[in-house]
Symmetry: C2
Subunit: 582 residues, 2 copies
Amino acid sequence: MHDFNLWAPKAKKVQLQSGGNNYPMTGPDETGTWHLEMPEATCGLDYAYLLDDDPTAYPDPRSMCQPNDVHGCSRLYDQSLFCWSDQKWQAPPLAAAVIYELHIGTFSQEGTFDGAINHLDHLAQLGITHIEVMPIADWAGDRGWGYDGVALFAVSDSYGGPDGFKRFVDACHAKDMAVILDVVYNHFGPVGNYTTKFGPYLTEKHKTPWGAAVNFEEGGSDQVRRFFCDNAQMWLRDYHVDGLRLDAVHEFIDRSAINFMEQLSSEVERLSTNLGRKLVLIAESDLNDPKVVRPREAGGYGMDAQWSDDFHHSLFSLLYKGNPATGYYGDFGKVQDLAKALKHVFVYDGGYSKYRLHSHGRPVEGLSAQHFICFIQNHDQIGNRAKGERLEHLVGLDAAKVALGLTLMAPFIPMLFMGEEFASSSPFLYFAFHNEEKMAKLISEGRRKEFAAFGFEDQEIPDPADMSTFENSKLKWGEVHEGDHAHMLDWTQKLIALRRSTNALNDGDIHHMHVEYDADKRWLTMQRGPITTIINIGEAEVTLPLNGSAAVILRSRAEVEIRGDSITLAPMSLAVLNSEEK
Amino acid sequence: MHDFNLWAPKAKKVQLQSGGNNYPMTGPDETGTWHLEMPEATCGLDYAYLLDDDPTAYPDPRSMCQPNDVHGCSRLYDQSLFCWSDQKWQAPPLAAAVIYELHIGTFSQEGTFDGAINHLDHLAQLGITHIEVMPIADWAGDRGWGYDGVALFAVSDSYGGPDGFKRFVDACHAKDMAVILDVVYNHFGPVGNYTTKFGPYLTEKHKTPWGAAVNFEEGGSDQVRRFFCDNAQMWLRDYHVDGLRLDAVHEFIDRSAINFMEQLSSEVERLSTNLGRKLVLIAESDLNDPKVVRPREAGGYGMDAQWSDDFHHSLFSLLYKGNPATGYYGDFGKVQDLAKALKHVFVYDGGYSKYRLHSHGRPVEGLSAQHFICFIQNHDQIGNRAKGERLEHLVGLDAAKVALGLTLMAPFIPMLFMGEEFASSSPFLYFAFHNEEKMAKLISEGRRKEFAAFGFEDQEIPDPADMSTFENSKLKWGEVHEGDHAHMLDWTQKLIALRRSTNALNDGDIHHMHVEYDADKRWLTMQRGPITTIINIGEAEVTLPLNGSAAVILRSRAEVEIRGDSITLAPMSLAVLNSEEK
């Protein structure tokens, strides 16, 4: 027995097709929804929809399972059948989080949820509290980053389908790790998006980098917003996910008095209360606008946290000595940018951006740093390079250790990208294959053209459609305990252990934090209560006076020493000091 | 001696053309601006700009005078030469305002500022405190409503040019009336917009009803925002204008962390402090979003007030018995809508709008009614009808008296449209002529097509391009003291006098206001302190009990009487009572 509900406000006739039969649906009701009660329908039933006189049967926009890729029939899935073992689960607070971003397809050799489960012990031992999973909603084809999803309620079958994801979440919870899922509500993928056959999910009034914008403000937008809010609630409720990361919220174009993000955060708060466990929303935002994370009561959108790129850009620009600053890196490159990012979150908080050609951002006022996720590596900052080089491939291990050290000692919520903890030798390349040669060609050409502007030859750019591009991006777990990889893993583990065991490193306080630097000699100190982190990213040894007694509790290189009343740091090194006076 | 500054960020070469000579400009500087210091340039000099190798000389986007329509040369104008006589001027507070909207071209027979000055005594005697002038920025052609402006810093020559407007403002101030100017920052007119030759004033990323949106958020937007903010400041500073009415702010598309409206209100506040007189900003907003008028400190945009259509729509829908509710009127029509508009400002404060096909608005919380401008007639609500009928032409004088009475007794800031005070017999038609036959044809056809949907025949629709359409819209001042016109004028005068002399009618308090109604019998009472307004818009006489003693201080028809403990109102009548108990 199942109630089929389908939003198709413009249709004059809708039929459900299943097992060779067509069943007429009743509707549309006042919301534009069609209904069919089917006593014989049970979990596993394959079905699709026929609209008006169009002979093609389309998959359900809210399909929860697409066994034969996104173009085929939808399969009825019963959320209630899975046997969960996480009844007492409570996620650790986001404020105390160390997040680990991973891509299911390349995290394990198997490229599946079950494959990923095998490596959870490694993450738990590392001290990870939250695993952020790159999008798993079904897209056309077998491999991709996941941002091309079109069946947003279905879990990619290539990863293991709905039950596979549930096993993964359950296993994470069993090992005391929360799960954050990356969801894409700003566009649909370029292949297999049938939603527009059913209703005005998109609007031509606004353009985004992916074409027509999602319709958050025009006729029918109530149901479009319902679609995304219900999607969010499904992951949180039915898949026991602890939070969502919303992709590129700056591409939501919404002049409504109640912004989509505000609606979503308010619905998720209600769900959180109903479920009795804290759920979080994290926005990827390029707006440098604190409104995104301000409470709704204060006129904000009520997101729990947002990504902030400015810390990454300012730190990376200082470490990378390759080709001159291009693109957004042109806006960064000074030690004082890094100091500002640490102290004020946004380097661009109203100032003019040469890259953007306009003033950008707004000061963060009255918000703790715990509303901002920072990182020195993530899927974009690696994968959007022509050859998918990780930080350590570009700047070497010493610099990568300094960078990760500062990230983990900083007041923001830190996030690592899979493999960063052991300086993985695998690149993270851009791969996408939609089982469609024409689109594959378009994507490959687009990628080559994009990087030609930066002086790359065509043959240097791995083809996103090639199987090898995908395979080469997989982590090589064999290397974890070898040489530099083991050394980096040890460093990461120590940093995380220190962060998690030290109150002063988890208070999110930027107002009492003290940052000093020398722009020429390229050192910077960051004092958070009794803990002082010092980095020397210059080319010469640096000696700094110590105020009172202090002990080095972590050093990235052996050549960091306290001598009397001062501390000396070798080039490209980091030290963490604990001072008893404070 | 004059410094010419021109923003033309993409140009490789810019010359100023004047008196047959070309003068090369220096630039662009880091803002994209070109400069030329011309010692011999004085007020009255005609000039234009040559860009790169384009042989056409274009008028200055910031031209302050266009003596030969918007396509011709710009003429240098010296803001400092006018002799003002309003040195001690302070505008009355907006909270105590009675606004009068007028269109310079049709307000007087002459259709000029000087023609309008002749009728200021009439407005002063009426009790008007603020005159709102429909747009005067120069557009292509001689006649139009003004929303097709393209030379936004120039005053239309057909109205009397810059000095004419200054004479008008000075004369208003001399008669104790403030001036609010309607400005259009959401688009440029369809003919003669040369700004796009100079820089990215528009963006193709977003569509508005007039085409590409103004660029408030992309590359170059700092200078575009500067253009509009400087424009606003020019009117307020150099023309002594007391406030601006911003046309259709819902068509600003701006995801910037600092919204254009917020920037503008903050700059205008600074100017207000510098000039030592209060300046106000009023937004026309279709968003039903209190954020527009919330203080910036509370996450709002800091506009002083905004227009709210919901009061008009709910009241008009109750009075007009013509063809069934079409367009947005379909969302209204119940007495309880009117009660909600009075008590909560927005009828649509989050509910579903059948006209818009989505949920609309947000509750007004913690704001006084003095942030909302309401009216029962305005240029749009008359002129956007096929035949430009005024309210009284459609519903008769009794109903118009009730409507105006409720508007003036309501807690919002009331606004009248020119001629409303004497039930003018002139329609206010849609007229537009850009001295271009092709565009004239397009506009006429568009208008006919628009109204064909409502069942109008082509020949019924006055042609916007015809001179007679414009001439017929002029007020007939001869009729002011005749019959029904004189009667309406007397009614208006009494209402305004009562409002202005009664504290309780100016407190903007909606929290303590008491509204009661009977949806079937169609009466409604609105109690504000000791003043109670009762309307009977039903078809039968209505008798209501009185609580305690009260005196009728205003009645719209003679057939309103207190008999013992009750009051009886004839059909379509209004009474204002003063109760001593309160």
